[in-house]
Symmetry: C2
Subunit: 300 residues, 2 copies
Amino acid sequence: MAQQLIGAIEAGGTKFVAALARPDGTRLAETRIPTETPVTCFPALVDFFRTGASEHGTISAFGVASFGPIDIDPASPAYGTFTTTPKPGWSGARYQDALGSFGAPIVVDTDVNGAALGEWLQGSGQGCRTLAYTTIGTGVGTGVLRDGQSLMGFSHYEAGHIAVAHDRTADPYEGYCPFHHDCLEGMAAGPSIKARWGQSLSDLGSPADKVELIAGYIAQLAVNLVLLHMPDRLIFGGGVMKTLGLVEAVRTVTEKGIAGYVKAPQLDPGLRTYIVTPGLGDEAGITGAIALGKRALGQS
Amino acid sequence: MAQQLIGAIEAGGTKFVAALARPDGTRLAETRIPTETPVTCFPALVDFFRTGASEHGTISAFGVASFGPIDIDPASPAYGTFTTTPKPGWSGARYQDALGSFGAPIVVDTDVNGAALGEWLQGSGQGCRTLAYTTIGTGVGTGVLRDGQSLMGFSHYEAGHIAVAHDRTADPYEGYCPFHHDCLEGMAAGPSIKARWGQSLSDLGSPADKVELIAGYIAQLAVNLVLLHMPDRLIFGGGVMKTLGLVEAVRTVTEKGIAGYVKAPQLDPGLRTYIVTPGLGDEAGITGAIALGKRALGQS
């Protein structure tokens, strides 16, 4: 019997990572495609998977961990379709249309839910019943898993756009979000940081005052996640989180924000095991996408 | 065969409501007991149920919708036990100890999860896959149901203690929460309102400026619930929500806070069907407690 193969896609705001993998996670081929429009990205994905299939065998299932907003409800007629996004060309684009010619089942989830799944299976989230994975990068988003299943309401979550307390005297920056100005994403995502200071925090040399300012906004999400989801662990990934000292500062401000109100063994003093960075680093998303493909196979 | 009977308890910060009911919801007896300490409350509950059982028949199951913090994880060895609460006498008290002599299964959930369940079954939450029920009363809390099951992480949620944006120039009140001062509960719960203005909003005649101020804090929870849970509907109950004009003001500020970012048929213009008051009024909690008892029977 031929080996079953999985086509996996991690779709981010700047690039797609696509991989052809065995169900055990072994990758047979991998590529990167810039996130332009579906008109260019989708055919490039199809080409990659067609070439891979011709070399390695039939693709039995696809797993997609994608930026959004996107319909991730398997019961919805629009499952796998991008909804209203300001990103040109993406509204209405659908993974099933791109990948349908392979005749294989497709599981679609968000990029952060996919990364959460990768971390839950093989990274910093192992053993957690409730796990929150947040990316602070081009955008800000959080995926929450319960027993390895991503949670959602009528849509996936949009944690990046929570309102944050913003002292305009201490920090007069008006924020970068086209919808809310100084929501979390408007204050702490990569583009916001570059817009206000011209460079990333890392390129600025991770100055303590700026790191603490940004940590203060991120910690407000951390506190809200604790109070509204009570996760066993909070993982913070994404480009901004690579800033030296940032995760430590987020721990400090989050602990201060909780103020001893929530007591649980999970919340260790200093939150050093509670708030962590991804164990898989930048591999969390594609690892999760392969795992989603495995679910499409019905193998987990 | 004898009729199966359910013992139901709605435990609130000021009073317990206990009822003896048939599985169809018909109440055969009901009582109210002030929330003092377990030393007085628990024996009073047992007396009520003993008397009821002697008149109407054996109690086959108990459903409890209780204030917290309390362990609501059926898999936990401490299921049904109050955890660390500043309320004198309640830490470590356990419903199973109080009701164990009846030899009937006991399902314990939070007061807000119970009210959510009541509303989901018979009130304003009917037909919702994801439903959030918030009480703004003696305290502030939110329960979220997905397909009628309450969500939790390592504990039930503690939505009342989220940080809220607080402009100290416009509103110099320092807040009432012993842990966080000006968290949502510290600014918008009943005791906070009475502490700052001497009376409830209703007794003050529901003045528009004060109603709008309080609505501004409540709406921050509403926006966070949308972004972090995407419920199909938000129900706001509790004593404070009976203030004339308050739910309308919460709708207005919430819609402004979402700022068009989240688009879904659920979020109707003006949010008049999205943010609502309880269809069962003050009966949501005890209705939910009876339903929890029915679940303990394995009947739903």
